[in-house]
Symmetry: C2
Subunit: 417 residues, 2 copies
Amino acid sequence: MDFIDIAKTAKRAALKLADADTELKNKVLQNAADKLEQNSKTIFEANAKDLEAAKQLVETGEITPSIYKRLKLDENKLRDMVQGLRDLINLSDPVNKVLLRRQLDEGIVLEKVSCPIGVLGVIFEARPDVIAQVSALAIKSANAVILKGGKEAVNTNKILFEVIKSAAAEVEGFPEEALQQIFTRDDVAQMLKCDGLIDLIIPRGGNKLVQFIKNNTKIPVLGHADGVCHIFVDESADLEKAVKIIVDAKTQYPSACNSVETVIVHKDFPYASALRDTLIDSGIDIVDTPRDWHHEYSDTVMSYLIVPDIDAAIKHINTYGSGHTDAIITENKENADKFIRQVDSAGVYHNVSTRFADGFRYGFGAEVGISTNKTHARGPVGLEGLTIYKYNIRGNGDIVRDYADGTKIFHHKDLPL
Amino acid sequence: MDFIDIAKTAKRAALKLADADTELKNKVLQNAADKLEQNSKTIFEANAKDLEAAKQLVETGEITPSIYKRLKLDENKLRDMVQGLRDLINLSDPVNKVLLRRQLDEGIVLEKVSCPIGVLGVIFEARPDVIAQVSALAIKSANAVILKGGKEAVNTNKILFEVIKSAAAEVEGFPEEALQQIFTRDDVAQMLKCDGLIDLIIPRGGNKLVQFIKNNTKIPVLGHADGVCHIFVDESADLEKAVKIIVDAKTQYPSACNSVETVIVHKDFPYASALRDTLIDSGIDIVDTPRDWHHEYSDTVMSYLIVPDIDAAIKHINTYGSGHTDAIITENKENADKFIRQVDSAGVYHNVSTRFADGFRYGFGAEVGISTNKTHARGPVGLEGLTIYKYNIRGNGDIVRDYADGTKIFHHKDLPL
């Protein structure tokens, strides 16, 4: 099938899916979870093929050992995947929520009701668990989705997708064509041009992938290219908390987007040298004059800056940061509040690690990714970020002329939801 | 000043403005309203200059009489403009609203707090009242704004902008550089390229302007290019309501984006010929086989289609419409609900005129325009559509390692807002 036909099919299915009720969507999630368990043997066989091919690519240096590791789907990962689907069943349906109900005048009622966005295009790198997670989020939020996974995981992605799609097809009334998968770069190139049919692109992967997509489409893109996160150690910071938080934010998972890249220290923080020594002892490399303050190390390396005051710290973060997640360590509540108000990032924290920026940790149940956008959705994006709304009015023959000429006037009375 | 310096200045001011309290913003609105009244003579003089120049352009056919009419700023329009500013003072502040408050674990509290988007670029055609309206919305929502008006209104736009900006400058602590004005096409071209500095572009004008902007920027664009609105007259429609609503939707303001372009009639509607005759008698031209079903007449002309059933009507609307506003006229509640659920538009109505699609009529107090986007904001966009949010966490030295290794677990308890 041509990509344009895939996109048109997805769009038709999206319009049907928008009208599906919660029970129907949950049935599909339940069936998909069951079928993933039942087909575990076939899934592991497909994954073994990908791993075999990838092993050679690691040897020739074409892929890194960490990509190889993420590619591997073991029993634990499959169990988590299945549990993720089951968890979504219990989350409240994000669609058809009445967000506003207002009587405009006697007999005319306006409602703002949440609804799906339409067709999502999701492009991701090696991790095959994304297939299940994103398909499930799309099903629950009633969006059609076109998935493109990394070529290293092609066999695993294919079988996972087939199992989930066949589970959807088995549930009567569910438009299983809302789930689509593509495989080639050419398909992706076409998808990026389909601004009439695709409503939102979600790239999950490295900076290069995200930047390429942002530069090559007019479709809204949800995600983040960089994660240049900062921790500011204020004059009154508690040394113990500073050490604990910075070590966690830098070493607990150095390649995560929410790990810290730059530590900024107030010039009058009395324990600066003790802090530095302890960080170095914890295995962190400190770079004092980085060529580029907007740099994501993705390793146990970080930039280090001394500033004269909190304003300079905030200015540095708003200038060189990526608007992802930044934290202040201080015992001064006023400074904490100021930092939280003035730093323009998706997550702004006081006395906690930047690593908390995550949909599961926020209690969203699941996430499609973290957004540094300034519109639509910012920070970890769960089900709610995959919805928009429409306005409905129910009346009885009402016309605008009566209000334009003053025969009638609006009274705008909010009604209970 | 180069455009890039204007944009950088606006961005710096935006960061300050984000931290302004409600009282400060309201003071500026109050002062701007007062100063517009005090300077009415100078404003009318500037407008007279624009009108004089425009009169010649009407004679040579370079601008239409309707543009000339919109250009004129009389005492009534100025009074409305001033009232619009004063009305905004009473609207609740859309910024710093706590949208979610959740205890992640003992001592760790997550908050989702509304905040401004940043820097808005607003490009509009002849109507000079947009300057005051959009500046006021930007001030109240704490966004910086760069305004580019139509060249026909250049003198009026200049004086209005100067009065408002000087009113902002008089209020101590308000970063008046958040208000910027540009005049040339070259500046607009540069603005469209500034995706690091401008966060949202709002075009207000005809299809060509909006389409041009959408095709030439990577910055999110909020608005609508077309308003191809439909009214479906169902089998059980009440003839009187159908006539009243269609006449209103087509003739009350034919060039409005929410006026109807296509009437779709169920084949078994028993009063179809009476309906047609009455519409024609009301001065509406009916086009039975338009070359293009996606056509906005902006005149008392409309397309007319007979369909076998409601499904065909919904399909036609979802295929040829512009996702703006569509209505069903029916006495069958089930069909009304089905139409409202299945039509994928910003406004979907039952037994009321499509002309109701408007921020003032919805009770939003003011609007920056109507959006047909599927992300961020859809339908009439008021103050809320000019905000986004950030997530704050306040803790006491908390780290992710404790949760990753199972030492602690999240309990995710929502707290009162």
